[in-house]
Symmetry: C2
Subunit: 112 residues, 2 copies
DNA sequence: CCCTTAGATAGACACTTGTCTATGTATCTA
DNA sequence: TAGATACATAGACAAGTGTCTATCTAAGGG
């Protein structure tokens, strides 16, 4: 059984333009928080917030080194997203509505 | 140049568990609004709202027939999403940060 | 040992969003 | 033509979110 709300949280993390830009930046490789900040106009606490959102759902990894935080993408999580999208967009044997359709047919048979 | 905010709106549409479930339902084929509603506990105006969100970003198509609305997935838009995700998650020649890195190198040369 | 720097946290605030009830509109049918 | 049905719209409201300023913590460097 799919937990749609749990999956929705992943897309919630992706539903901000600044966070998409952060991902784009990290696609070139690991980068320090203060370097990432240079790409934006917002303040340091705001970046801290965005990085927390991305890290909490597992899309971004943190490597702490002294007073620096080095961030990088977790591509495994990205693959998870693709697999889930594939699952909900394409027809499948265990589709949620097949179950209902089957139940309707059975009910119709009972009435007859 | 990528418009991150525009793309973020697509993920905003996907950032609700009920809407993900709607997509999952539609993956089996076209379905009428009142049939979709049977899968949920919320009211008809709420479904109307969710379908509007999905239709406005182009993920779902509407075929009006008398008083019925038949909804179906627009897989082309889905492909767009995959392409965009691929673009921001994987390293590329025109990466946003390469431009910056290049600028830094040039600046360093000037100083020398 | 102080000062600087990297980052986190707290609290405030405007804005957005998901949901509801109430009501409107358009289509079908007896 | 009157009622029923499918869907949309308006307005309200609680909860969530992105941003800020102010402040705190911890690590480095003179």
């Amino acid at each position: 059984m799919v937990n749609y709300n749990e999956k929705a949280n992943v897309f919630k993390a992706l539903s901000d333009g600044n966070r998409l830009k952060i991902i784009d930046i990290l696609s070139c490789g690991e980068r320090c928080a203060c370097k990432i900040l240079e790409f934006f106009d917002f303040t340091q606490p705001t970046l801290s917030h965005h990085m927390k959102v991305l890290a909490e759902i597992g899309l971004v990894r943190i490597r702490k080194e002294g007073k620096w935080n080095h961030y990088s993408l977790n591509l495994e999580k990205y693959e998870d997203i693709l697999n889930f999208l594939d699952h909900i967009f394409y027809e499948k044997e265990d589709c949620i509505c097949r179950v209902i359709d089957q139940a309707e047919k059975l009910q119709a048979q009972v009435k007859v």
